[in-house]
Subunit: 181 residues, 2 copies
DNA sequence: GCAGCAGCGGACCGCCCGGTCCGCTTCTGC
DNA sequence: GCAGAAGCGGACCGGGCGGTCCGCTGCTGC
């Protein structure tokens, strides 16, 4: 990564922040123009930093995944594995809930190196927790971190159209209960 | 509903069938052109029968909902309520799985009379089953047919990206287990 | 069989949006 | 402070798609 001129670096940062905000507030179909407007740059500038819209999307997702990864690694040290996994699930669920539009298209970002790597590492870490619990017989056999991620993500998405504000908590709890051995 | 000329009625039927197929095979973003092509008509013809693309989408969904409704009504007569509800869930899950793209935007079709009515009636019937089970203490309290519909629908969607072919069954089973009292 | 109208369909429109390009601006190293 | 390069941004392009329109077709009632 070549070093950027100071103003270019500042713009890059602002674009990433603006993109995250825009996905959260507008939805998965934000336009590049909207992101550029929020960042206070021309939309040509966005395309100099990211060759396509998908590349920008992937970059924002990668940031979020790295945050989750750091959090998950800390949890590996916890003595109570069950509590660690549940804490991670609740934390990840809340992250997805806040940035639901952002994570919408995460499956399509697999082609981007950094997203693929972050996802793989995250799954590795969470699978460690899962296997511990499965060996101790307190978690349903045959599920892995991808299954849990998909189900929890789905529960969040399902809760978006519910009237009650706390629907997402109830839905995640239902999934967690369903995952017990 | 004025009576249509024979060829117009035939075209209308073909459009509905073609639209259902197209949503299933192409995805939620099928174009009107694609649907018209499959129906063997010009796309102007589609717009004479349905004022907007959303109206066509709603019409196709309404057909599916009516089928589910008829099925659910039959189940009301079953002596074993638990089996009836589970059978309905599995049946609806399979319907959603086959036509996942179609049901994707169902929340946005509430503005269309026939969809709204069919949904309301379906929820009424399923809620009857649910309340029976809740009174007998075998189903988690505080959930209604909308919750279950949302969760099962989301579980199906979540299973689409899984490698294993039978992921949807496992996911639906996890949700059903989580819904037990 | 024919008149007349319901119905057809494809040419056309306008909008949106991702992506490109190039003349101008602003930063940086000296 | 200056030269030159790095960066900027908005005008522009092209493709796609929802929706309209109108001249032609072929169905229907008599």
């Amino acid at each position: 990564m070549a070093v950027l001129r100071a103003d270019a670096q500042r713009n890059l940062d602002r674009i990433l922040v603006a993109a995250a905000d825009a996905y959260a507030e507008v939805g998965p179909d934000v336009t590049i123009d909207e992101i550029a407007r929020r960042a206070g740059v021309g939309h040509g500038t966005v395309f100099r930093h990211f060759p396509t819209k998908d590349a920008l999307h992937a970059a924002v997702i990668a940031v979020r995944l790295d945050e989750l990864l750091a959090y998950a690694r800390d949890l590996l040290e916890r003595p109570d594995t069950r509590a660690a996994l549940e804490e991670f699930v609740w934390m990840a669920a809340d992250a997805v809930r806040r940035d639901r539009a952002l994570f919408e298209g995460i499956e399509e970002c697999g082609a981007f190196e950094d997203v693929a790597v972050a996802k793989a590492e995250l799954h590795d870490v969470v699978d460690k927790l899962i296997r511990r619990l499965q060996r101790s017989g307190t978690l349903r056999r045959g599920v892995d971190s991808r299954d849990i991620g998909a189900l929890v993500g789905a529960a969040i998405k399902a809760s978006m159209h519910a009237e009650r504000e706390d629907a997402w908590r109830r839905y995640v709890q239902i999934v967690l209960d369903g995952l017990r051995a």
